[in-house]
Amino acid sequence: MQYKSQAVAKPYFIAAIGLFIGQILFGLILGLQYVVGDFMFPEIPFNVARMVHTNLLIVWLLFGFMGSAYYLVPEEAERELHSPGLAILMFWIFLVAGALTVLGYLLVPYSGLAQMTGNHLLPTMGREFLEQPTITKVGIVIVALAFLYNVGMTVLKGRKTVVSLVLLIGLLGLALLFLFAFYNPDNLAKDKYYWWWVVHLWVEGVWELILGAILAFVLIKTTGVDREVIEKWLYVIIAMALITGIVGTGHHFYWIGAPEYWQWWGSIFSALEPLPFFMMTVFAFNMVNRRRRNHPNKAAVLWALGTAVMAFLGAGVWGFMHTLSPVNYYTHGSQITAAHGHMAFYGAYVMIVLTMISYAMPILRGRQAANSNLSQVVEMWSFWLMTVSMVFITLFLTGAGILQVYMQRYSTDPLPFMVVQEKIALFYWMREVAGLVFLIGLITYVASFFVGGRQPEPKATAMPEPAAG
């Protein structure tokens, strides 16, 4: 570790992994409820399980992003973090607030939670992904402000690099766009319209900057390729991500009462959203091929390459599949959406956080650069178990989605929703099995932190001089 204060990243990463486990457990409950409707009812109804599954995902990714920033920024700025104490304080505030919120979801009926937390004073609850009580939302803003102040001061006082700048812009955008969570107009069309400014502009806008910056950082560190080359790619990728992603918001405005021109704007720009992800894949493989040395942390390089590929598939290809408005007319809100959501979140954001953890954690735990071979082998097993099972989850949901769209919406003789759900139950069962494999992968992942601790780490080897040409 080059700077002592980078150590504050460690609790953030541990909390992220802990919440990740919770998210997957609720995912499994949820997956089973698709086929066994009253499973765990009335203790954990479907809507609550879903809320916990998605909210935990967002919260642990935020922990992951913050941890990544706390690790990355001092090294890029070449100075200690502005205030490690503030970072630790915010960690506990965020963790306690997050835990209380989830407990609130689980122990109190949602309407009771709204009453308890004074939602009537400033009503913001009851909207998908933004279910948090208003008071939790205020907490998120405070934590985000303190975090930005801390990271921002470090960047301002230290060396300014493209990587830290892009990361900072991404994080700033994340915080600013979250403010739309407090805007809750009575007009339902308007409500949905601005709701997407948080949801879409996060995952298909500013989060992509965070993703790009973290990926660039890990590639600089592990490949030894010139920073200039990597920064140039980062510029091109984020420019493309913003051009396509911002206007691409329109693909959510097709059927909510927004003006008709969004059919065109949304279709055209979001059809091109795969481009930056494709560039990212080319970029990652290109950099690794041009590496100056073989970094001893092979697992981190595997995660980095995996992120690029899976983000392209999940966000790019699976997103494109249903983004054109004539297609979306049929697929909107079906299992196709669920398939895309799963692979995109895993491929882009889960994997980039795990990439960063994989790179940073050995160093945070006092090693030179990498875990022992044994630990890395276990970690790489977990990579393949989780990634392959996520591919299957996506394929099964896609199969379910295609059937659903056909039977429920496209055929000349459309069937009712629940009839169709029963007909596609087999796909849900298979998805649940794939989900169990994912859990095994996750357990393997956690185990990788506890094996081979006493064994030495592999050595870095120099690459032979590349042939000219």
């Binding site: 140039k232 510029y235 091109v236 420019a239 051009i243 008709e260 065109w264 055209i268 059809a271 091109l272």
Partner: protein, 193 residues
């Protein structure tokens, strides 16, 4: 590909490879937009022909000449830096920047005219395409001008030389793309009936 060291002027493509990836991606966006325009027009030929006549093609012609001139100025700038005259390069680039500004001014007058007539994206399909396409291009002119200015400032400060001027070629390549797109957009939206 050789890395580092002076890049001879004859390298192909000129400028940084990254800008070419960006240019190709941008051209793809415009191509999709143009294709959407063309296919939609097929279904609404009369509507498109009618509202096309409400556009100010004289203003658009002035803008076409402005952009062609700007590209010529940029070419002169690149030629100048290849001769090692970085001050002249900066002057040529500022000239191109001025032509870009002229374009923005004329285009803004057109927009002001349409807005005062109460035309918006929702008026009809033709105006939707006209406003979308030209405004998207408008934003590219602005970005291109930022790049031209950055190159001009660096050139004036002696940041480029006869041996090392990849940045100049990079900026020039991007600006030519902005010009080229307009050369398709102008006949497509203003002229072709």
């Amino acid at each position: 590909m050789p890395e580092g060291g002076p890049v001879p002027s004859a390298t192909y493509p000129p400028g940084d490879l990254a800008i070419w990836i960006f240019i190709l991606a941008e051209l793809l966006v415009f191509a999709v937009f143009f294709a959407a325009y063309a296919f939609t027009r097929l279904d609404h030929v009369e509507l498109f022909n009618h509202y096309q006549t409400t556009l100010d093609s004289d203003a658009a012609l002035v803008n076409t000449l402005a952009l062609i001139t700007s590209s010529w100025l940029v070419v002169r700038g690149v030629a100048a830096v290849r001769e090692g005259d970085h001050r002249a390069c900066a002057r040529w680039f500022w000239g191109a920047f001025g032509m870009g500004a002229l374009f923005l001014f004329v285009k803004s007058l057109e927009y002001a005219h349409h807005l005062s007539a109460g035309i918006s994206l929702s008026t009809n399909t033709f105006y939707m395409f006209y406003l979308s396409l030209t405004f998207f291009h408008f934003m590219h002119v602005m970005l291109g001008m930022v790049i031209l200015a950055a190159v001009a400032i660096k050139a004036a400060g002696g940041g480029y030389s006869r041996e090392d001027h990849v940045g100049v070629e990079t900026g020039a390549s991007y600006w030519h793309m902005v010009d080229l797109v307009w050369l398709v957009l102008f006949p497509l939206v203003y002229v072709m009936r």
